[in-house]
């Protein structure tokens, strides 16, 4: 065996049943203070028609059992707090703990969205401060913090484009999406009633300007681009792309998923973007939490401002902040209340920690990606040879000759103590291996990752079976997804 790394060692991983299987009637994990008003018969109050006799199938467990149950489950997850999590396009950076602390403060977590606006100025100032920072970072003119996540931000952005074009007389029919785009882009365009036309990338993985020019006609409402794009390369013709679209009455939408490559270095507003969303759980460090909550602010140019989702945060003449609900051209409301406030608090805490030094984080992120690229380009196929931004995309072309795929290498990384990189995306690179280290990795961590990748490449040549059957060290092996999908078991059932 050629495992050169001493990064990992085996240790005991406790088994754990479902919480329901731990249940013993009569146990409990929580007690309420005694009732201090006259007791009533609930069933009589709500009436027999509505009264529920009891909730069946809930677990009956004590507090220590709840602690052990969820602590054991937690140890079955890999996490940023364990080590490098190089998932391309996901920006798995350090989630500062002070952000968690301040989001839970009394006076922050405790506030109700309908309390009088004069008693919510603290919350509104937080939102206002974050808005100002996002405007400065993006170079845009106006921003909304409402969208719950990037996908909803995209939805808001495309609806605003539709609203603007409608106000100009014709909403148009199509949204162009490069073939390297995230899946949410086409899904969003369709949700906003647009047809999607896929645009092939050029040989360098970039937008093909000539090709684009041939398809932008009066039916095209917008182009959705990710910049840097999903192969980690800056679209150097972006301003020309914007100009082309604008000259034909279309708009440029930017998916800000990759803002971690740009914050403090370049501003989308300066290179022609009309509307963009950001994922605060990426660039602004709010925790992914196993799949959310996120937040997806949308920033726009002046022309789109009247169409922002309602309500809009405004500053009154006396300096007080308020929500403006009177927005006749607004695309409407995207969710109840005012956005994922708790996530926005964390994002502001992150931005305040760095201040203008956010640029240093961007630099380190791009440095790490290029360092990994340089150190692995002899080992893995690099389909696009330009310098990368915050992520680098290799392919499994060399290893595939031995039957080893990107997925196998990714799974083998687990044995080496790393989370896998992103596999099989972007779709334009067959066998893609998409690596985004973020600024949160030290040189030593990058070096260990590079060593692990080289070692796996060597194994792929000498002992490919070892790679193809990975992971070997996890508490559970590769799972049968086919049976799960054919005969779905989506819940535990009481006996």
């Amino acid at each position: 065996m050629t495992e050169k790394l001493k990064r990992t060692a085996r240790h005991i991983s406790l088994g754990e049943s479902l919480i329901f299987e731990r249940s013993v009637p009569g146990k409990r994990g929580f007690e309420l203070p005694p009732l201090d008003v006259p007791a009533v018969d609930s069933a009589a109050v709500v009436g027999a028609e509505f009264a529920r006799s009891r909730v069946e199938g809930f677990p009956e467990v004590s507090e220590i059992e709840v602690i052990r149950h969820f602590t054991r489950l937690s140890t079955w997850n890999y996490a940023i707090d364990y080590g490098m999590y190089p998932l391309g396009s996901c920006t798995m950076k350090y989630n500062p703990r002070v952000n968690e602390f301040v989001a839970r403060l009394d006076g922050i977590a405790s506030e109700h969205p309908y309390q009088p606006v004069e008693l919510a100025q603290g919350c509104l100032k937080i939102l206002w401060a974050l808005q100002q920072i996002l405007l400065e970072v993006t170079g845009m003119d106006a921003v909304t913090l409402h969208p719950c996540a990037g996908a909803q931000g995209e939805y808001a952005g495309i609806l605003m484009i539709r609203a603007l074009l409608t106000s100009r007389g014709n909403p148009r029919k199509k949204v162009l999406v490069p073939d390297s785009a995230h899946g949410t882009n086409p899904a969003t365009a369709v949700t906003a009633e647009y047809a999607v036309e896929n645009i092939p990338s050029d040989a360098n993985g970039r937008i093909d300007l000539a090709r684009l020019s041939s398809v932008v006609n009066e039916d095209v409402a917008a182009l959705m681009v990710t910049n840097p794009n999903t192969v980690g390369i800056f679209e150097k013709d972006i301003a020309a792309v914007a100009e082309l679209l604008h000259s034909r009455g279309a708009l440029l939408y930017m998916d800000g998923a990759n803002m971690n490559a740009l914050a403090g270095v370049a501003r989308p507003g300066d290179f022609g973007v009309d509307v963009m969303h950001m994922n605060l759980h990426k660039t602004f460090s709010t925790p992914h939490g196993g799949g959310g909550p996120g937040a997806g602010p949308v920033a726009v140019k002046k022309s789109l401002e009247p169409f922002l989702p309602s309500p809009v945060l405004v500053q009154r003449a006396d300096g007080k902040l308020n929500f403006d609900n009177n927005r006749p051209q607004s695309i409407g409301r995207l969710r109840a209340f005012y956005g994922n406030f708790g996530v926005l608090v964390r994002a502001l805490a992150y931005a305040l920690a760095y201040g203008p030094g956010m640029r240093a984080a961007t630099e380190d992120a791009v440095l790490n990606a290029n360092y990994i690229r340089k150190n692995l380009e002899d080992t893995f196929e690099l389909p696009y040879r330009q310098p990368c931004m915050h992520e680098v995309v290799f392919s499994d072309a060399r290893q595939r000759k031995n039957g080893v795929t990107t997925m196998d290498i990714a799974k083998r990384l687990i044995d080496y103590g790393f989370h896998p990189y992103t596999t099989a995306f972007p779709l334009i690179v067959p066998g893609a291996m998409m690596i985004e280290p973020t600024e949160s990795e030290s040189r030593a961590e990058c070096d260990e990752f590079i060593q692990a990748m080289r070692s796996i490449a060597e194994e792929s040549a000498t002992t490919p079976e070892r790679v193809k059957t990975a992971p070997h060290s996890t508490r559970i092996g590769r799972l049968d997804e086919t049976t799960a999908a054919r005969k779905p078991i989506l819940r535990w059932k009481p006996q």
Binding site: F30, E60, G107, A151, V190, A353
Partner: protein, 448 residues
């Protein structure tokens, strides 16, 4: 900077090793005219202490020290410190969506447990995990009803949360849904004869909320019967999940859109929360959002995977059931832990205390001269009272006593300015309720 794990000399060495001299060289692929040549004009950098001070100061500008009787979709309930301690474990907090099953079993099993709890609670067969919140879950439920029935008419109760309704409008407008509205009767419940008249062969779904925005419980079986007779689905939105501890689940509904905020999540000025769509097994492939399923590994051990992913945007792209990508996983985890702690008995007691305290407050307030209860239908922990004057004026006087009074219904229904919506939960002490009653009495005695 404390978050960046490199020394300057390490940076220089790394740059040199890739053949670059300075950081600026990393960005040569960005045309020079679009590179920022000045520092960002933003506040900071702040140390940890300064960040905490900043947010403490903001907190003090909010309703700190006030007693509040607001609900209307956001509820303040007891939360165990255990929940917050567990969800802050880095393995939950700092992990990604569990696509890599072998190293994400913790999140996956927790999602599976959440799905189970939501089914048990709502009386439905399958539940996702989850949607952004109750309002978007309701909108997605309407879109799902359109997919299931092939029809586009949506009959909405006027007593659905007005902001849920606005979200429905936003989503529905671009899916060509046709909305019609049905009013409420003197009970505060939806007008059954009006629904009967409103539904027809083009109706995809009837949408009601229970307890509704006026706090009143809806007659779900009767509404279901009317909807089903027209071949339409019934969608029941539930904003106050604790009600399910004492109130029959909407088992007759075809889709339940639940807001799980009441289960261990702080009000947090309106988010983040967790929405859920629960439905019948036969509609599972039309359901949006994430699902964890049970399976086995190569040695036959039980494990969990994300499943039926072909419904989702990352595979189906423009043909997906929704563009949703995140799933509020950490919020769903908090709800799972919270409900595990409560168990059936704890949830029951919490629900009972809400009923008792709301009953006590409503009774005491209704004794005041000129105050009346306009709706006769059964309630859980929210109720509407009518005053001889505008609720906004009443609330101004209450604020002076550090009490945030009822939500003025006039904010949403211009014809109801003299009605206010109260929410009383297990967190309100008797003394606090008595103070509200005394303050309201004094306020009503003031000249207008």
């Amino acid at each position: 900077m404390r978050y960046l794990p490199k020394s300057d000399s390490e940076r220089r060495e790394m740059l040199a090793s890739i053949g670059l001299e300075k950081m600026e060289d990393l960005f040569i692929s960005i045309p020079a005219e679009y590179r920022l040549t000045r520092p960002l004009s933003v506040p900071g950098p702040l140390s940890e202490k300064e960040i905490i001070d900043y947010f403490r100061a903001r907190g003090s500008e909010n309703a700190f020290g006030y007693s509040s009787f607001l609900g209307a979709g956001v509820y303040n309930h007891l939360r165990s410190v255990v929940t917050d301690a567990l969800i802050q474990r880095g393995e939950f907090l700092t992990s990604y969506t569990p696509y890599q099953g072998e190293i994400s079993q913790g999140t996956l099993q927790a999602i599976f447990e959440f799905q189970t709890l939501m089914c048990q609670l709502t009386g439905q067969e399958v539940a996702n995990a989850g949607m952004y919140d109750g309002s978007t879950a309701t909108a997605e439920a309407a879109l799902m009803a359109e997919r299931v029935t092939g029809r586009s008419g949506i009959v909405v109760a006027r007593s659905l949360h007005p902001e849920y309704r606005q979200v429905l409008d936003t989503y529905g407008r671009h899916a060509a849904l046709q909305f019609s509205e049905v009013g409420f009767t003197a009970t505060g419940q939806i007008d059954l004869s009006a629904i009967r008249a409103a539904v027809g062969p083009a109706t995809a779904a009837v949408v009601v909320q229970s307890p509704n925005f006026l706090g009143v419980l809806e007659q779900v079986p009767a509404i279901a019967e009317i909807a089903h007779a027209a071949g339409a689905l019934l969608i029941v939105a539930i904003a106050e999940g604790v009600s399910l501890g004492a109130v029959k689940p909407p088992a007759d509904a075809d889709i339940v859109a639940l807001e799980a905020q009441s289960f261990g999540l702080a009000p947090s000025f309106g988010g983040p929360f967790a929405g859920v769509i629960a439905t019948r097994d036969k509609f599972v492939r039309q359901m949006p959002g994430r699902l964890a399923g049970q399976t086995v590994d190569s040695t036959g051990r039980r494990g969990f995977v994300l499943t039926l992913a072909t419904r989702e945007q990352h595979i189906r792209r423009e043909k997906a059931t929704s563009n949703i990508c995140t799933n509020q996983a950490l919020c769903a985890l908090a709800a799972t832990i919270h409900l595990s702690l409560l168990g059936p008995q704890g949830l029951r007691e919490m629900a009972d205390q809400n009923i008792a305290k709301a009953r006590y407050a409503a009774t005491e307030l209704a004794k005041l001269p000129g105050v009346s209860a306009p709706f006769s239908g059964p309630v859980f922990n929210e109720f509407v009272l009518e005053f001889p004057r505008s609720v906004k004026i009443l609330n101004k006087d209450l604020l002076r006593e550090k009490i945030i009074g009822p939500l003025p219904l006039g904010n949403f229904f211009p014809d109801l300015t003299k009605r206010g919506l109260y929410c009383v939960t297990e967190l309100h002490s008797r003394a606090e309720i008595d103070r509200l009653v005394a303050g309201t009495k004094r306020a009503l005695e003031l000249p207008i």
